[in-house]
């Protein structure tokens, strides 16, 4: 047997985890090998001492049957409360979801939906060459709105003069219109 295999078997044996049939075979081998026997004894002694050290604290006293019953009832009660709490949460979540869906469906089908208007530029009206700002989106500054209004008014005036100039500059082309004028 290889030494490393022997060591593994001896450790398993010391830890009490060797199958009985393997244990018998190992015992036969150890009986014929004094070095292996010494090693087996040393390992068994180490594990035994470790067990004593690990379990040296006073073992808890077995609890009385009645106390166990009371404890178990407490465990059962806690578990029922927790389960009830979880069920309650699920129910509440389902109710909330249902209400939300109902509200949404009602909004879509029956009731008028509030109109949402997005204004991307100031609405202007020009009266007599003076621009009046009717509404303005909040994301433009007052200065910008005023500038836009002035620019718009100037542009309208300019267009008016330009058309008049065109009429005057080409009298032959639009004779009918010119007659009307």
């Amino acid at each position: 047997m290889k030494p490393e295999n022997l060591e593994t078997l001896l450790l398993d044996r010391a830890l009490g985890q060797l199958a009985p049939e393997v244990d018998d075979l190992l015992a036969t081998h150890v009986a014929r090998d004094p070095a292996a026997a010494r090693r087996a004894e040393a390992l068994a002694s180490t594990v035994s001492l470790a067990r004593r050290a690990a379990t040296r604290q006073a073992a808890p006293q077995p609890r009385a049957a009645r106390s166990d019953d009371a404890q178990w009832r407490r465990v059962r009660r806690s578990q029922r409360w927790r389960a009830a709490g979880r069920d309650g949460l699920k129910l509440a979540a389902a109710l909330m979801l249902g209400l939300a869906l109902m509200w949404f469906a009602r909004m879509l089908s029956g009731r008028p939906v509030a109109a949402v208007t997005f204004v991307s530029a100031p609405t202007r009206a020009v009266s007599g060459g003076r621009a009046v700002v009717l509404s303005a989106p909040t994301f433009w500054s007052t200065a910008r709105i005023a500038a836009e209004a002035q620019r718009s008014a100037a542009s309208a005036e300019k267009n008016r003069y330009r058309s008049q100039v065109r009429w005057l500059a080409a009298p032959g082309k639009n004779s009918k219109t010119e007659d009307k004028l």
């Binding site: 030494p3 060591e7 830890l15 292996a36 040393a42 594990v47 470790a50």
Partner: protein
């Protein structure tokens, strides 16, 4: 106790009667958890009841419940963030002073955490390799390796001369 089981509450009640003392011991041996051992035992079985269907898939009821206890203990430690040292355990007074036992206790305390935890599950709770593997969520080979490593290390610490002789025996050198 460790055989195939019906995951009913009656079965768990029997399990509670069987395992409560061992689990109390498991918690009480950890200084940071000792004060809350009964509450932790309670939490362990509440969780076991909540997931009782998982009992069927476990190697043994004992391993399953110890696995839950380990998680409950870890959660409690995480919440409280205590400093836990095995060597600082409030040990009961020994009937007779034993220096070797004290040395072994200190040596176990010096083991790396995975080896120590595995060794204590074997020595204190008498769990099999397979059960320990389930409790810790590691392969059986890892459990074996940790245990072997722990025993070798303890022997090196306590009997350095024997360890040298063993190495010579293993390598075949005189």
């Amino acid at each position: 106790m460790a055989g195939p089981m019906n995951p009913g509450s009656t079965q768990l009640e029997d399990l509670y009667r069987d395992l409560a003392p061992a689990l109390l011991g498991y918690f009480r041996r950890r200084p940071a958890l000792a004060g809350a051992a009964e509450d932790l035992l309670h939490d362990t079985f509440v969780r076991a009841l909540e997931h009782r269907e998982r009992l069927e898939a476990s190697v043994s009821a004992r391993a399953y419940v110890f696995g839950i206890a380990r998680h409950v203990g870890s959660d409690a430690l995480r919440r409280r963030r205590p400093t836990e040292e095995f060597v600082a355990a409030p040990a009961a007074p020994l009937p007779e002073a034993d220096e070797r036992l004290e040395a072994m206790h200190a040596a176990i305390g010096d083991l790396p955490e995975p080896q120590r935890e595995t060794l204590l599950l074997r020595l204190q709770q008498e769990l099999s390799y397979e059960e320990i593997a389930e409790v810790l969520g590691v392969p059986v080979g890892t459990v074996r390796s940790r245990l072997h490593g722990a025993v070798r290390r303890l022997q090196e610490i306590l009997n350095p001369s024997q360890s040298e002789a063993t190495n010579q025996h293993e390598t075949g050198k005189p």
